[in-house]
């Protein structure tokens, strides 16, 4: 039987603290990069998954750990949003306060729309990019265009990452029932129209 401390204090804190690193351990000499959730949201040159972008806002992909659902992000500003969560969570893609407080998958595919809050029915990636641009302007930073105007299409993410999934059971946003053109839907979402 696995033994887990029966925590009467009912808190996620506590338990056995991690062992400290040996005093003579080699320091990590690699400068940390900023962790962000998607294409076009990098604040610095070289800060995307490939490290090859030459300007803020032009990165190809997230540096935060890929995950596929609400509550699975590692830390502050590493959660996506859109498919679950309350208005506050859904209005802060890539800007969540803490670990496990993101409300959806990372990276954010172009087809994803918010299901609640002020951005309901509109593109999540476009909102993330808007917040990013506001942050860059406030910081007096130049930034370039994202590789895709409205974020990475799901098909592109699958081709790059090998697989990609965001949780939820309502079906594929980019499919067709024979009576619509998914490309038109994608264009409308990209133009900022409400779904």
């Amino acid at each position: 039987m696995a033994i887990i401390n029966y925590n009467l204090n009912l808190t996620l804190c506590g338990g056995t603290p991690p062992a400290p690193s040996p005093a003579n351990a080699q320091a990590n000499v690699n400068p940390p990069i900023e962790l962000h959730i998607c294409m076009g949201l990098n604040a610095c040159k070289g800060h995307d998954r490939t490290g090859a972008n030459n300007c803020a806002g032009t990165g190809l992909c997230a540096t935060a750990e890929q995950h596929n659902c609400q509550t699975l992000n590692n830390c502050h500003s590493q959660g996506g949003c859109g498919l679950y969560g309350d208005a506050k969570q859904q209005e802060a893609p890539g800007a969540n306060d803490c670990a496990w407080q993101g409300s959806c998958a990372v990276p954010v595919q172009a087809e994803r729309f918010s299901t609640f809050g002020a951005n309901k029915g509109k593109s999540v990636w476009k909102l993330a990019r808007k917040l990013f641009e506001e942050r860059m302007i406030k910081a007096n930073r130049n930034f370039g265009p994202a590789p895709f105007e409205c974020g990475p299409p799901q098909a592109w993410l699958v081709s790059v990452l090998g697989s990609y999934d965001s949780c939820g059971n309502s079906g594929n946003k980019s499919c067709s029932f024979g009576y619509n053109n998914p490309a038109d839907n994608a264009k409308e979402l990209c133009e900022g129209k409400e779904e």
């Binding site: 039987m1 696995a2 033994i3 887990i4 401390n5 029966y6 925590n7 009467l8 009912l10 808190t11 996620l12 659902c69 609400q70 509550t71 699975l72 859109g82 498919l83 679950y84 969560g85 309350d86 506050k88 969570q89 496990w100 407080q101 729309f113 299901t115 609640f116 309901k120 029915g121 949780c167 939820g168 059971n169 309502s170 079906g171 594929n172 946003k173 499919c175 067709s176 029932f177 024979g178 009576y179 619509n180 998914p182 839907n185 779904e195």
Partner: protein, 458 residues
């Protein structure tokens, strides 16, 4: 195990209001495994090409030209795609609100009578019966069908169920709404003390959100449609008479609709006529009551089945296109060992969610928030949902009827023992089901470690 509370004709009084509210909590809990079971039987995104292809072939066989057959098949297959997804979205939208009702009733009990009891309160015998309902009617865990939808309509009926005329002594019937009215009357008639110190599940903390991707479906043009309205209801702090009545009215209006909403027809059939204003449960009239949502699914199911049956290609129940062949009222004890291990883990996660909710009524502030957001949300949205998907990939031969079924989540309460913490038992069950670990391992290990609130629950 559902309890027998007081006699049906009893009044709610200050002496028994705690029992009455606990009964209300157990009524809400009893609906959750039923709705979830049917929900998971639905393939929300069936294979349209397969549906369309087989339909085309059958229509050509009965004399349609290929072009005619193809056009009809495209139309009907698109309708199946929309309906399957819509049925799933509507059932999930109701299930989510049942969880809200459980929380609102729990807030009510916390304010008026002390800690709500949630663990071990799911029905243990199937078919189940709503506690205290007159007349009783059987409730199965079953796949989506017209029969199952009729059961849903009975659960949410705003009017007394029609009584068969041949009965010599018609049984008086009380709806869930009338039951809640008894509680309201007690609250109105007596100056009850309200506990303002004990924690409740409060609004504006991200605990409850009425819309998510699972409550949405796409119409024929693949535009998203939202089944729950933004103004349909929320958690509420029960602190006085007014807030207590407000909480109850929210529960009743979401479930059955407004007091003058129509119910089943006198002969027990479903009224598929136009939706009328009382069928809505929100001020903006954007969200239908549970009863009307199920009526809509029932009527569309019937209409679509009739369309297929008028094609001359044989008698068809449309559920064969998008409903998994799950058993009715399965139990983990009858599953083969490999499936039983996954089912037991799933039941333990299901039960641990109730354990965590109970703990939220003992904790406040950041501790409550962490239990809820990192434990309950993660368990419901990711772990439980993932396990439901995983178990339904498994199948087994039932020797009793010599039929192969897809294994399905049984949503049975897991009897956590008292020797170790529920979480440590959960971890053991995880490794029993997945000895080599899998994508859920870290998520299980990350769950908060909370105790049973009541010793000897099982």
């Amino acid at each position: 195990m559902l309890q027998n509370f007081f006699a049906a004709e009893s009044e709610v009084t200050p002496e028994n209001i705690g029992e009455a509210i606990q009964q209300a909590i157990e009524i809400e809990i009893a609906t959750i495994p039923v709705y979830l079971y049917t929900y998971y039987s639905i393939i929300r995104s069936p294979d349209q090409d397969a549906i369309s292809g087989s339909l085309t072939q059958e229509l050509v066989t009965v004399g349609k030209t290929p072009a005619e057959a193809s056009a009809i098949a495209l139309d009907l297959s698109a309708q199946i795609m929309v309906f399957a997804n819509k049925a799933g979205a509507l059932i999930m939208s109701v299930a989510i609100e049942e969880m809200l009702h459980m929380a609102l009733s729990s807030n009510l009990k916390q304010a008026l009578a002390g800690l709500p009891e949630l663990v071990g309160k799911s029905p243990s015998v199937w078919p189940a019966y709503l506690p205290g309902h007159i007349p009783p009617f059987p409730i199965d865990r079953a796949g989506l069908s017209l029969n199952q939808l009729m059961t849903f309509l009975k659960i949410e009926s705003p009017k007394p169920l029609p009584v068969r005329k041949q009965l010599e002594a018609p049984i008086p019937y009380k709806t869930i709404g009338l039951f809640y009215q008894m509680i309201i009357k007690c609250i109105e008639d007596y100056d009850l003390p309200y506990d303002l110190d004990s924690p409740q599940l409060l609004p504006n903390k991200g605990y409850y959100v009425q819309s998510n991707i699972d409550t949405i479906y796409y119409d024929r043009d693949h535009k998203p449609r939202y089944t729950n309205a933004d103004d349909s209801g929320d958690l509420l702090y029960v602190k006085d008479r007014e807030s207590a009545i407000h909480a109850i009215n929210c529960i009743v209006e979401q479930g059955e609709g407004n007091p003058d909403a129509p119910g089943l027809n006198p002969d027990g059939s479903v009224d598929c006529g136009a939706i009328v204003p009382p069928d809505y449960d929100d001020p903006a009239r954007e969200e239908l009551s549970h009863f009307e949502k199920f009526a809509q699914v029932y009527c569309e199911y019937q209409t679509l089945t009739n369309r297929f049956n008028n094609l001359g290609i044989g008698v068809i129940d449309i559920n064969e296109y998008f409903v998994v062949n799950v058993p009715t009222n399965p139990s983990t004890s009858k599953y083969p060992a490999d499936i039983a291990a996954v089912s037991t883990l799933l039941n333990a996660v299901y039960t641990y969610i109730f354990v965590m909710v109970e703990n939220c009524y003992k904790q406040s502030g950041s501790t409550q928030y962490e239990i809820f957001m990192f434990g309950i949300h993660k368990s419901m949205i990711f772990i439980l949902n993932s396990l439901c998907g995983d178990i339904m990939q498994l199948s087994y031969l039932d020797p009793e009827d010599d039929t192969v079924y897809a294994a399905a989540p049984t949503f049975e309460d897991y009897p956590f023992g008292l020797v170790s913490s529920p979480k440590s038992q959960l971890v053991d069950l995880y490794y029993a089901a997945y000895p080599d670990g899998n994508y859920l391992e870290q998520r299980i290990l990350d769950l908060p470690d909370v105790p049973l609130q009541y010793a000897g629950k099982f």
